[in-house]
Subunit: 227 residues, 2 copies
């Protein structure tokens, strides 16, 4: 199997390193930014560097497209992969518009291609161990799931674009916490969310509190901040 | 100052001990239950024991009525005190019906009497210290208040009536947590609440999760269980 990757920002280096770790070569990279794609290709010894995504896909020679671009880049890249019949894996959040996610899903379904999302949190060992305790009945019936992620890590140093995001922490961290909550507690039937902007120098919300009711009747609470 | 007390259940002994601690004698006690009022009067060396509340109030000889009865007893006792022009202090929760609380408030206001509630949590030292930190600007702007009270203390051993309460933990513990949240975070403009019954042998909810937004924009989360 060979992979091509679009988007050469902060996370691309972890994606490329990840593919290598499991013995899958990344044979082509794309970014609209010529310097960035050149630097990434050089760093990882990748021969083919593109600034035109259509061209990379048309040239082919790989089996999966890894979409590691910013959020607005997800929809066109996934639709292009579907059109080319190319299996695709995409960075989270897939989109900030549910209708765009539905379009991606429909395109991939129609094309009969495999489509996945980079959602890694639920696979982290502590969460898998907890899920094992639940499945094994070791902790009895779960009636509350609480996940807190409270920190002031300088995310903006590595990902300055997050300062400008209209939807910030719910998209950046909330996606992970919501997915992990579903992994541990099952599907959700009610959700209440409060968002707040605490730092004065960010555009979107940097603090959020989410109350959930799972279909099981259990309660969930997710708390997050970068403030 | 002299006090009369109505309601000789679990909490009355702490009320009577509390009055004594500040040098205020409890001169009369009332309970509908003859054995209970006799036991309480004996234990604390109180001369006057009544099973008829109207009678106790008519006999007089005290300056404050301390209402320590179960919740349904609060409204008639407070109205009786107002009618007699007698200052009154009442156990929490005042009522499970907002309109009953409004009636008590109106009766006491019209009678021009002092009316208070037994709400002790906000006066506990840790909360007063926290309030001091907030007032002194020592911890900066508060943007989240989280209060959790998770335990399996056998409350039913001392207060078996709680097992039958239609509204259980929100009334028993929630009142304290909500008052403390207001003390620390200020007034609330939005509230979402989830309640659940976890133990099969109680009538009301024994677990609850409350999400708040304070007028300041800060978020609040209250979590409680006896399950």
């Amino acid at each position: 199997m060979r992979v091509a990757l679009t988007g050469c920002g902060f996370w691309s280096r972890f994606q490329i390193a990840g593919w290598r770790e499991i013995g899958v070569p990344v044979v082509a990279v794309h970014s609209r930014n010529p310097e960035r794609v050149r630097a990434t290709a050089e760093r990882f010894g990748i021969d083919r560097a593109y600034t035109d995504l259509n061209r990379m896909v048309a040239d082919g020679g790989f089996d999966v497209l890894d979409v590691c671009s910013d959020v607005p880049g997800h929809l066109p890249a996934v639709l292009l992969a579907a059109q080319a019949g190319l299996p695709v894996i995409c960075q989270k959040p897939l989109s900030d518009k549910p209708e765009e996610v539905a379009r991606m899903a429909e395109a991939c379904r129609s094309a009969g291609i495999w489509w996945a999302v980079h959602e890694n949190w639920r696979f982290q060992r502590p969460f898998r161990v907890m899920r094992g305790w639940i499945d094994g009945g070791e902790i009895g019936a779960v009636y509350r799931v609480r996940l807190t992620f409270l920190q002031s890590f300088p995310v903006f140093d590595n990902q300055p674009q997050l300062k400008e995001a209209e939807r910030f922490i719910l998209s950046d961290l909330g996606t992970h916490l919501l997915d992990t909550a579903r992994y541990l507690g099952g599907e959700v039937d009610r959700l209440f969310c409060l968002a707040a902007r605490v730092r004065p120098d960010v555009r979107g919300e940097d603090s959020a509190s989410v109350l959930l009711r799972f279909e099981s009747g259990a309660h969930g609470y997710l708390e997050m901040t970068y403030a």
